[in-house]
């Protein structure tokens, strides 16, 4: 997906985020960027580095550890016509912002009869591995999907990271822009000029005929690897990236399921009351669904995220578990099968080292 052709530029996810921010800040003076340590020497893993030098401390600034009030600041500034981007280095911290996001940002346009708009972008990052533990690893997108008025996007690659961030900044609604730490080093073709990736339009990343795999955020990458492993035993999986979860392009998933006859949703989060539950429910209740379809889902183990390596491995879905699950769904009468563990490791995950 977006493999650079000859002469095309390849860019890392983290650099795509930075480029999108720069291009939008140059285009629109009302855009500003703030959050704890967006202006420090590490610059949110590099995604905001150098931006304060470029745009000045009025448009790029660090904040006190006051996530609740800073979210209110973003909302108030947005009501006054600005377009803030508020950055959190872990999604877990967004729990401190829930009152402002759910009670105000999501509802202001509605309960004030359309008199105000809240064009804010909440950038936040899901952590994983190297012992991140229970409070540096949560993926809470389903909490925000639950609330009318919020948009939720989770780009899985550098191309979409840039296009979605530009779309989110230009959107007149509050957007939860959810990044994955382990995707930061992944590269693909990213055009130099500004462009948008539209919310509410899923993408078929790889086509197949036996089953539909829906991956969320980094699980797109893991599904693609699982697809490769499955092809070795003759199973053809289609992989879909919803890109945005609110709005959700359920028709794209439905059309695929109607072709393949099976659906496995793989989320980088817990399954109960989660995005995977919502996708399965919407497919199940659709009058356009053809015939009986086998549907399953995978996600985190139903526990807090443990830091100990073997526990962490048991906690997360991975390409091997995904491939084994697909095999059991597509060939339920066959002996259980799982791929060679050596082949299941993803290079960008292997690269990742602590501490953060």
């Amino acid at each position: 997906m977006y493999t650079p052709a000859n002469g095309q530029r390849s860019l890392r996810y983290v650099d795509a985020l930075r480029e999108a921010t720069i291009q939008e800040m140059e285009r629109d003076k009302s855009v500003f960027l703030f959050g704890l340590d967006v202006d420090d020497h590490k610059g949110i893993q590099g995604s905001t580095i150098g931006l304060q030098d470029r745009f000045g401390p009025e448009r790029v600034f660090g904040t006190p550890l006051s996530e609740d009030a800073m979210t209110g600041v973003a909302i108030g500034a947005a009501m006054a016509g600005m377009r803030p981007i508020h950055v959190h280095i872990r999604m877990d911290f967004v729990l401190l912002c829930m009152n402002q996001l759910v009670n105000m940002a999501a509802k202001a346009h509605y309960m004030y009869g359309g008199q105000v708009r809240v064009p804010i972008v909440i950038r936040c990052m899901i952590g994983k591995s190297w012992g991140q533990g229970a409070q540096h690893s949560q993926a809470l997108h389903s909490m925000f999907m639950h609330v009318p008025g919020l948009k939720v996007v989770m780009p899985s690659n550098a191309h979409d990271a840039k296009g979605c961030l530009i779309a989110a900044i230009r959107d007149d609604n509050p957007v939860l822009f959810i990044e994955h730490r382990l995707l930061y080093s992944t590269e693909c073709y990213v055009p130099e000029e500004p462009y948008t990736v539209e919310m509410g339009r899923a993408r078929i990343c790889a086509s197949g005929t036996d089953i539909t795999l829906v991956g969320i955020s980094n699980m797109v990458m893991e599904c693609l690897r699982a697809r490769d492993l499955l092809s070795e035993v003759g199973i053809s999986a289609e992989v879909i990236d919803p890109i945005s979860l609110a709005p959700l392009d359920i028709d794209a998933i439905l059309n695929s399921v109607n072709r393949t006859g099976g659906l496995l949703v793989v989320d980088c989060a817990w399954t109960n009351c989660g995005a995977s539950a919502e996708i399965l429910a919407r497919i199940s209740e659709s009058p356009k669904l053809h015939g009986p379809v086998q549907m399953e889902r995978m996600g985190f183990a139903f526990s807090p995220c443990p830091p100990s390596p073997p526990l962490e491995q048991a906690f997360y879905p991975d390409p091997s578990k995904i491939a084994a699950k697909v095999h059991s769904m597509v060939r339920p009468l066959d002996r259980e099968w799982s791929p060679d563990p050596e082949k299941t490791i993803l290079s960008h995950e292997l690269q990742f080292r602590g501490p953060f």
């Binding site: 006190p64 609740d68 800073m70 500034a77 009152n99 309960m111 009869g113 359309g114 105000v116």
Partner: protein
């Protein structure tokens, strides 16, 4: 403005708020207003004192007990009553209700039903005004209960750090729903707490509208010059009616009628009213009653939103 004209102006605003609230209380038993009302009766002078020190293009943020601030800043009475009636002509098109009045044409930010929530939103607006650099300011109203929320201190700190043009106005009516201050505050020294952030803070004991306006005017003049950071006013005041609803609740035992009597003696509608000629006062009263009657008529005769409206304005487009 001559002193007499000024008093007429203040009396008109005070009386307007009082009479609107009384009219809501009168209509309420008819069940035409299906919205939880938190009446401002007794607390009018805080909003009137502060808003009379503001320019038209300044901004206010208020709370669920926000009718007074909405009216004091010039919000439309017709659109307010229509909102209480749930009509499509309401300021929130029937989607806000009493606790979420809004009037962006008069720079009245929408109010919130969750205590403390509009405080950081008002500092965000103030941040935008500071960047704009045209001397506009924000007045942010909240109650004594809001000062117990963590976001209050987060907001004070950020506003002081960035020297934002905002006047914090604490309407201290001494009760959070039914809980008195002595059950909630380890110390009553609110202004001292605020001053530790480098924010000048004044406490006004008797809700005197002229005193409130004087302090507000001085603070706002400083904010406009951008020489200082934010300022803070604590205005002691008193809610005459129950926390929510149209009635009195002195029989319930959490507060005394003697307390009410003490505050009624300081009633600012009366204090300013007696300084007008009886004929002047009668003329203003009649105008206000006519205005309110017209606003109620507007609400009564306006249509409800159609059911399809439930799904509009969920997202801005």
């Amino acid at each position: 403005m001559s002193e007499q004209l000024d008093l007429r102006f203040l009396y008109r605003k005070l009386r307007q708020i009082r009479r609107v609230e009384e009219e809501i209380a009168r209509i309420y038993p008819s069940d035409k207003i299906k919205s939880p009302v938190h009446l401002s009766i007794g607390q009018e002078s805080v909003s009137v004192g502060v808003c009379s020190a503001l320019r038209d293009d300044d901004v206010v943020a208020a709370t669920y007990r926000g009718h007074a601030a909405y009216i004091a800043k010039g919000g439309s009475l017709s659109r307010m009553f229509a909102e209480l009636y749930g009509k499509v002509t309401g300021c929130g098109t029937g989607k806000g209700g009493s606790m979420h009045l809004v009037g962006m044409d008069k720079y009245i930010l929408g109010s919130s039903a969750v205590v403390g929530t509009t405080i950081p939103i008002s500092i965000g607006y103030a941040l935008a005004l500071k960047r704009e650099g045209s001397g506009r300011v924000v007045a942010s109203f909240f109650g004594d209960g809001a000062t117990e929320e963590g976001v209050f201190y987060e907001s004070l700190n950020f506003a002081a750090l960035h020297r934002l043009p905002i006047l914090f106005v604490c309407e201290n009516n001494a009760y959070a729903i039914h809980s008195p201050l002595k059950k909630r505050w380890a110390s009553t020294q609110l202004c001292e707490r605020v001053r530790t952030y480098g924010i000048p803070a004044i406490s006004i004991a008797d809700s005197d509208v002229l005193e409130i306006r004087q302090w507000a005017s001085e603070a706002i003049a400083g904010l406009r010059r951008s020489e200082t950071g934010p300022a803070f006013l604590e205005c002691h005041t008193y809610r005459w009616r129950e926390h929510v609803g149209p009635n009195e609740d002195y029989q319930s035992g959490y507060r005394s009628i003697a307390e009410l009597q003490n505050w009624k003696e300081k009633d600012q509608v009366e204090a300013i009213g007696v300084r007008l000629l009886p004929s002047e006062r009668a003329e203003i009263d009649a105008e206000i009653d006519a205005e309110i009657a017209a606003a109620v008529d507007f609400a009564e005769s306006s249509p409800f939103p159609g059911p399809e409206e439930v799904l509009t304005h969920v997202y801005a487009s």
